[in-house]
Symmetry: C2
Subunit: 352 residues, 2 copies
DNA sequence: CTGAAAGCGCTTACAG
DNA sequence: CTGAAAGCGCTTACAG
């Protein structure tokens, strides 16, 4: 072995051009050994380890996850399919999941669908994640249906998070929309309202919002309230039916309006105020979500979703799935939120 | 060739177990041909195309992006490194970038650092994206420094978005923090304030917030205002120095407080109100950001960042970089925001 | 328009 | 504790 005959390194240049072979050569070990010290759990003498680490540092080596993913037939990457990053509840979910995943020694990559493109784009996003052959899949969008997930259940652990789930083979950690809806409906009834508009998005638009809305409406009806159910099946907008509600208020047909999300409630508030209505004098408002900062300043009556709780549990379940080869029983958790009182919900103004 | 001798398909099962070879076999073509119809830009007879598409559908084939990424030495994936999904401005940025990237025929994957872990974790996130050998890199966090990016500039197109950038080799599309800071400072001066607290996060905490804060402070000083500069170098919290500011208000040392973000401003408002102060009577407040929904309800005086504009431009620049092999000149765009008046900024109460 | 074959950068039995 | 070699599932010249 002649030290003088150093063959020219193939990539003089950039760190991303440095391969494991380059590291091996510099450290004077085999590629297998470099791989072992990177992975960390195979036996390597500490002397060798040091040599290799030194070489990696010197070359600025960034391991090619694409290549290792292929060779190892899988990776520690957990993929998150997230509905809409503009919505604060998803933003918080994203953040907490990242923290938890990282604590579990896994890595997270996130994919979001284009907004307002509907189900096609959501499926594209799903395939993007699957194409990357992630080790686990966290699905946080109700737009993707169980049906779309079914074909992949045997190949990759899937947990659906923050969305309705009752598929017998998909474990779910979600919000208890029935309870959330009931809590809000109760408060509206207790405030004295007897005629209420409820916005109910179609199942295809959002399973969660749909379920929440349905729960609110049916709970109200159960209490003998006159419900004006405002169905909407428009994808990607938060203001559909607001005009109709404003009209109902003007006609004194309702004294309160319930929205399945804070976002919709806030959007309505702006429109209503622009239309000259005052809240809660002309109409009481409730939302659902409770995550956005500064909500207490606005005083929106809402239910605060247990986002952290759901994120923590979902990640724990995923980590468990990834650890145990034995799948463990599929289960469905539902976590209820807590009511946040606010000045947008008052007793109806007498005389209306 | 005996049709009867169909060799057993290696993966009887799941779509993710189906390989290109399986498709090729079913369609009775070579693997190369399957690859060609998937990529779409190589000449394939439409008869063959149909056979292949049919076979893919039948098998539920999901192409392995990992393998193709390795073979093709690169992919159409654009990686986004995003600072903090809990902040509405980042959420919106994320969303718009996704839409734009998708319009350009590229795909986006996002990685976020764990919150409150500081620079180490941000670097981990950067390496995660680089390890995936993304085709382009969008960096939207001021925590990563130019220095950290430098080694990779030769291997992958990088554009920094929404963050200060003046590296001669990194093109940047960002907010004009100097102008934003000046606009706000001007309004505060014009409202009549003469003694003002300004929160200035350290450069290491956030380059953008730092620059904004410094701009506010120096602009105020230039107008002869008494500035109480509240430096903070705590990572991951939005309430540092709030106590001190409340004290200054109580001691009648200041009549206004300027925050580099809406989030900080809102957090302060809650604390101040809890401490019995009233806004703007006891102290006027300004933020910066202007993205969160319902802000108009709160009435926070702020600057609305041109997030959409920045996202669109950044993606356009990236698409350009990816298209042209010739790099084109590096440049730095800065986009200024617009002032949003609000009831948190009034003239100082006489007698204070 | 189509196929055979080399090769992308790793991991992992297998054999020392 | 370490190395030689096969193979992961694709792409892409190259040769028809």
């Amino acid at each position: 072995m002649t030290d003088s005959a150093t063959p020219p390194r193939r990539n003089g240049g950039t760190p991303l051009g440095v391969r494991m072979d380059d590291v091996a050569e510099l450290a004077q070990v085999s590629r297998a050994t470099v791989s072992r010290v990177i992975k960390g759990y195979a036996p390597v003498s500490s002397k060798t380890q040091e040599k290799v680490n030194q070489a990696m540092r010197e070359l600025g080596y960034v391991p090619n996850l694409i290549a290792s993913g292929l060779a190892a037939k899988g990776s520690d990457l957990v993929g998150l399919l997230l509905r809409d990053p503009r919505v604060p509840a998803y933003g918080l979910l994203h953040s907490v999941i990242q923290n938890e995943v990282s604590k579990s020694g896994l890595e997270l990559i996130t994919v979001v669908p284009s907004s307002s493109e509907g189900v096609t784009d959501e499926l594209d996003s799903l395939h993007r994640l699957l194409g990357l052959r992630v080790g686990g899949l966290l699905v946080s969008t109700g737009v993707i249906k169980d049906h779309d997930l079914e074909p992949f259940l045997d190949s990759v652990p899937v947990v659906s998070v923050g969305r309705l789930e009752d598929h017998p083979r998909i474990t779910g950690v979600s919000y208890d929309e029935d309870v959330n809806g009931s809590i809000l409906a109760d408060k509206v009834v207790m405030a004295g309202h007897r005629s209420v508009a409820v916005v109910v998005p179609a199942w295809a638009v959002s399973t969660g919002e749909n379920r929440r809305g349905v729960a609110m409406a049916s709970h109200l009806r159960g209490r003998g309230i006159d419900v004006h159910q405002m169905d909407t099946d428009i994808f990607g907008t938060w203001t559909d039916r607001c005009d109709d509600i404003i009209r109902l208020v003007r006609d004194k047909q309702i004294t309160a309006a319930m929205f399945p999300t804070d976002t919709r409630a806030l959007a309505f508030m702006s429109l209503a105020q622009a239309a000259g209505l005052s809240i809660p004098k002309d109409v009481s408002i409730t939302g659902c979500d409770g995550i956005a900062m500064g909500l207490e300043q606005i005083g929106l009556a809402t239910v605060k979703l247990p986002v952290e709780e759901v994120a923590v549990r979902a990640t724990a379940v995923m980590a468990e799935l990834l650890r145990n080869s034995a799948p463990g029983p599929v289960h469905h958790e539902r976590h209820a939120g807590v009511f946040i009182p606010g000045r947008t919900l008052e007793a109806p103004t007498p005389g209306r």
